[in-house]
Amino acid sequence: MLKEKRAADIEKVLAKYPPERKRSAVMPLLYIAQEEYGYCSDEAIREVAEIIGCDPTEVKSIVGFYTMFYEQPVGKYVIDVCDDLPCALRGAGQFVTYCEKKLGIRAGQTTPDGKFTLNTVMCIAACDRAPVAQVNREYRYDLTEASFDRMLDELSRS
């Protein structure tokens, strides 16, 4: 149960918003739930709904609207490579193709060992450092095939 496991974090989040506006906490709480469950599982959604006092349908709707909330289990590392226009002008397309080959999956898929999920994403506000990716929301700038290999090695070992 989130309420027990992450009590302090939940409290901190709720404290940011007026007490009668608990619903504002839905996104921060979903991040917490996602950290705990790996994705926004049905159970997680119902728990969040209970904390903010609304119907689970409303929370599910929020989960479905935003790309950063996952409705299905994802890999331990989620690699989001930007292939939007500015990055694509600097080789992001070919870079993603390389990532796909290297991981043996297509964008949108997870490696069979459950370690990596590869996604392409829209512009992530770092176009001058293309190709650029985020791994579990941390930026990786100025990527090359070689640095991608090194990164995978590093992550595979951890």
Partner: protein
């Protein structure tokens, strides 16, 4: 731990906004204060009335840097005086393709943003501020949170700031991947825990914003301008820029140039051509084909317009918008049809779905582009793209849908011949370099014969 962001190109003797270029560690509280930080905040709290703060910002002519260019001081003056609580909401959604200026300000110079937020809050007498950052700014958010914590620790935020009796709380709220949440009313809905879809105006946020209370919404860069304005005055600020576009502006340059990055420049001083030169010129010195002055949302300006000056009025006169000033440079190696499709795909992906023309129009348009890009297009499809864009234009609920027509209409206007050539050269399903991309996006079947679904 987070890696700090920012390509540091020195474009001014003393930067107004990108001060991390001049002072590497200015993100630290002590360094910021040693370099004049929080002096404006002290000055306002101890010597200025809220109205005086509004007036100096009004006089400075500072225009919103989030896209619309609306005068900031004027916006603040719309806030009703007698309704409480009020809110200041900072727009750090920065999701326009090619925009990465707020990213650098938050990461490199966070205290200047916080000080700007504080000044704004004081000016409109709001005691709570939410800084809405796009969900991908998870790392910058940590930097900013650390800076906020420092500001609290030094009594710059919190209860009874500097003994003035003014209370101010500043909170960060992270989005979760939705371009539309940069639109101010969608942002408010998102912050309220509702679907991030835009809402009707009126009522405007100044009257009924967050929690139906009076709310100022400003962009990160806009507010970062405020401390130097309050400190040095409107006249000082107006030494930069033009009469109608005063001040400096961060120009994000990306695409086919050698030194992509953020360039802070006085508005109206340089031309697009000069900006490209500052950014190291195009890769391999190829000729420029066109420039998007505000990412995917702005109509493309073709090469002959490169001598347009970099300010709101000039870019508008040239047929585009300055918006967030995210210059995406396309050279002659870039296939315009492919680039237009990329942008249309962006809008189709980011359409919130609330209104019919945007929801259906972006879907339809992308289908047409898919058909052309995968080598099955006809000239009738090209005309149809124009029709669909025309059918959307002027009918959408918010500007996202209107923006979506820009890449279609402007590339058709300036580069129709390229569309026709593309169709002639890609008959019968040939797609040259685009196969990987089209397979990835589920437009055509991969070698395994499966169509991916997204």
């Amino acid at each position: 731990m987070s890696r700090f962001y920012g390509t540091k190109y020195k474009t001014m003797d003393r930067h107004v906004l990108l001060r991390d270029v001049d002072v590497p560690d200015i993100r630290e509280y002590d360094v910021y204060v040693a370099n004049g930080g929080y002096a404006a905040w002290k000055k306002a709290l101890t010597t200025m009335t809220p109205d005086e703060v509004i007036n100096v910002v009004k006089d400075s002519g500072l225009r919103g840097r989030g896209g619309a260019g609306f005068p900031a001081g004027m916006k603040w003056s719309f806030i009703p005086k007698d309704i409480f609580p009020k809110y200041v909401v900072v727009n750090g959604d920065e999701s326009e393709a090619g925009t990465f200026k707020d990213h650098q300000i938050i990461d490199g110079n966070p205290h200047q943003l916080i000080e700007g937020v504080a000044l704004c809050a004081y000016a409109v007498q709001a005691n709570t501020s939410y800084i809405y950052l796009r969900g991908e700014f998870y790392e910058p958010a940590q930097t900013l949170q650390r800076a906020i914590d420092e500001a609290y620790a030094h009594g710059m935020l919190g209860k009874n700031v500097l003994g003035s009796g003014f209370d101010l709380d500043v909170h960060i709220h992270l989005g979760a991947g939705a371009y539309i949440c940069g639109e101010e009313t969608a942002l408010l809905s998102s912050l309220e825990g509702q679907l991030g879809q835009p809402r009707l105006r009126p009522p405007f946020p100044a009257v009924q914003g967050l929690y139906a209370k009076p709310t100022v919404i400003n962009n990160v860069e806009t507010l970062a301008n405020v401390p130097p304005i309050v400190m040095h005055g409107a006249q000082w600020y107006r030494q930069y820029g033009t009469e109608k576009s005063p001040g400096t502006k961060v120009f994000c340059v990306s695409g086919r140039v050698n030194k992509p990055g953020n360039y802070e420049l006085p508005l109206g001083k340089y031309t697009i051509r000069e900006l490209i030169e500052m950014a190291g010129g195009t890769i391999d010195g190829r000729p420029v084909k066109g420039v998007l002055p505000a990412g995917s949302s702005a109509p493309i300006l073709p090469a002959p317009l490169l001598d347009t000056k970099l300010d709101y009025e000039s870019i508008q006169a040239a047929g585009s918008i300055l918006g967030s000033a995210s210059f995406v440079i396309l050279d002659d190696t870039v296939d315009i049809v492919w680039a237009a499709r990329k942008m249309v795909r962006f809008f189709k992906h980011e359409s919130c779905g609330k209104c019919t023309p945007c929801r259906e129009g972006t879907y339809w348009a992308l289908k047409l582009y898919d058909k052309i890009l995968s080598g099955h297009g006809t000239l009738a499809d090209v005309d149809m793209i124009g029709e669909v864009a025309g059918q959307m234009a002027g009918k959408c609920f918010c500007l996202l849908g209107e923006f979506a027509t820009s890449p279609m209409q402007s590339t058709l206007k300036h580069f129709r011949a390229e569309y026709e050539a593309f169709i002639a050269n890609h008959q019968g399903g040939t797609m040259n370099g685009y196969a990987d991309e089209l397979i990835r996006e589920g437009v055509i079947a991969g070698p395994e014969g499966v169509i991916a679904h997204h």
